[in-house]
């Protein structure tokens, strides 16, 4: 039997794959992604570099232009608040899911995964119905007599953050929940049998062991918010500009490709830096 097993790979080689194994199969996809993703991306990066003696002039213009810096700052601010909101809401949700019975766990998990797959457009749009001037929340507030006029929840930073948090919450909750499931329950039992209180068990064992997964999920949410486009456009009503919306404006309304390319380069570098941090933490959290 062992003889046969060792004979098979040799048999494969004899059958004459002229290329090293697997190269043939990856070629179409590799050519496709090279020609239609890598090269376009590199070309765009090259657009951001000026010609002549001032290669960084577009970046210098970005740094001087107060509008661009303001939008960049605004985007980072919104991304930070969204990340914070996702942490505050996501951790209890993941913990609650972890503590449920298997059957309920399946049901809640299915709901979370479902929201994950529903079109972002649909999930964003619904907030107009919920938070609009004549929306559910405002009507309840008026009915309760808390306010006389409508509270402007939408078309400001608050509305955008509610929308992005709602859309991105599963990105934090799903990996966090998976990390909690992998946690060795015997550690908790051991602590309990030695007389630790539930609070001690949570704060000294459970939380420290799940913090890396929370950090990884937070970075993911942060990166995704940086490039967000749909939610700020709909729930911000043009009053909460973020990088992606500015890029849309620079390309589709007033053709200034070089400036757009320079902004994209900044966004790409930011994203890749944070992604490297994410990979590093994710790797650590698995140990």
């Amino acid at each position: 039997m062992t003889e046969l097993a060792s004979a098979i790979p040799r048999d494969n080689e004899r059958r004459g794959l002229r290329l090293p194994g697997g190269l043939l199969q990856v070629t179409p996809a590799a050519v496709f992604i090279l020609l239609l993703f890598n090269i376009p991306l590199l070309l765009m990066l090259s657009w951001s570099v000026g010609t002549g003696d001032e290669p960084l002039k577009y970046f210098a213009a970005l740094a001087r232009g107060s509008v661009y810096m303001k939008v960049l700052g605004n985007t980072i601010y919104i991304a930070l608040l969204t990340t914070l909101a996702c942490c505050i809401l996501g951790y209890p949700l993941a913990y609650w899911m972890w503590s449920l019975s298997p059957r309920r766990q399946m049901l809640v998990l299915a709901l979370v995964v479902l929201t994950f797959w529903i079109s972002i457009l649909v999930r964003t749009y619904s907030w107009i119905v919920v938070l609009g001037n004549d929306g559910v929340v405002n009507r309840v507030l008026r009915w309760l007599g808390i306010t006389e006029t409508s509270v402007p929840f939408l078309y400001n930073q608050f509305g955008v953050i509610v929308g992005t948090t709602n859309v991105l919450l599963p990105f934090l909750v799903l990996p966090l929940f998976a990390a909690m499931l992998k946690l060795d329950r015997r550690l908790l039992q051991a602590a309990e049998s030695m007389g630790a209180s539930q609070a001690t068990i949570f704060f000294r064992i459970f939380l420290p062991l799940t913090i890396p997964a929370l950090a990884a999920g937070s970075i993911l949410v942060f990166i995704l918010t940086l490039g967000f486009f749909i939610t700020p456009a709909i729930l911000g009503g043009g009053r909460v500009p973020m990088i992606a919306n500015m890029l849309d404006l620079l390309i589709n309304r007033m053709p200034r490709w070089e400036t757009a390319a320079a902004i994209s380069t900044v966004l790409l570098v930011l994203t890749l830096l944070f992604y490297a941090a994410y990979q590093w933490i994710e790797k650590k959290s698995r140990i």
Partner: protein
């Protein structure tokens, strides 16, 4: 002591359930809204009607957008599955150097913000006169779907025992025969699941479409443009149809992926 832990238990239940409610609220609200008879977005709807569904199905522009969406999603997911599953096989079973770099390259469109992919393709396709064509749009959507196909198929192929392939080959099957009669039938559920994932990604796509599609309208692009301008209750009907479509197809994909041995694959 017992009182305190009962209280904290109760608190966790309350907070957890509230967050779940927050997560599902948009979907729970939009479905009843779509059956409203009112012109405004009042909730709860004053009375029920199907007028917004009529206003969708009777509008030739929406139907045209639906046809474009379906065509682009069908073409891009098919190309993504053809290229992506072959690439996944090469990455899993291959022995060549640089597989990890290539894998990272295939997955890069997930990490690079979509607006950057859209912008890069915009400039690139404009050079070749492909901007605003259906072909250009299909290319853009294929790039976004490909990473998910590669991810899912790599898991599926890894969980398929290589010795079955070797057995077929050692019993005299040619490579083509082995692929056609052993590998592909066994991977069929996963292939279908990957196809559905890529289809949904394309069908819901907004950003790349806005940049590349020119005069062509897809359902999400038209929805987005209408939403930015004004509040149109027809959108609630479309949103409900989209939710139904997603639930059915994703349920099917999850079932297929499970049959294919790919457990709990999530975007």
């Amino acid at each position: 002591m017992d009182n305190r832990s009962a209280l904290s238990r109760w608190l966790i239940n309350l907070v957890g359930f509230s967050v779940l409610l927050f997560l599902c609220l948009p979907i729970a609200i939009v479905i009843p809204m779509s059956f409203s008879s009112a012109d405004t977005l009042a909730f709860p709807p004053p009375s029920l009607s199907l007028r917004w569904y009529h206003s969708f199905f009777d509008d030739p522009r929406w139907i045209e957008a639906a046809r474009t969406s379906l065509l682009v999603a069908f073409a891009s997911s098919t190309i993504a599955v053809l290229f992506g599953s072959a690439a996944a096989y090469g990455l899993v079973r291959g022995t060549f150097r640089g597989r990890r770099v290539l894998e990272a390259n295939f997955l890069a469109p997930i990490i690079v913000p979509q607006v950057i992919t859209a912008l890069a393709l915009y400039i690139y396709l404009a050079k070749f006169g492909l901007l605003g064509t259906l072909g250009g749009l299909i290319i853009g959507h294929t790039i976004l779907g490909l990473p998910y196909v590669v991810l899912l198929m790599m898991v599926a192929i890894r969980s398929f025992d290589v010795r079955i392939e070797q057995a077929a080959l050692s019993l005299g099957a040619s490579w083509q025969e082995m692929f056609r009669r052993v590998l592909i039938p066994n991977l069929m559920p996963s292939l279908l699941a990957a196809w559905i994932f890529a289809f949904i990604i394309s069908f819901d796509e907004v950003i790349v479409t806005i940049f590349l599609s020119g005069a062509h309208e897809t359902i999400p692009k038209k929805m987005f443009n209408e939403l930015v301008l004004r509040v149109n209750p027809t959108i609630t009907a479309i949103a409900t149809l989209l939710i139904g479509f997603t639930v059915i197809t994703m349920g099917l994909a999850a079932w297929l992926a499970k049959r294919g041995g790919v457990a709990a694959f999530a975007r």
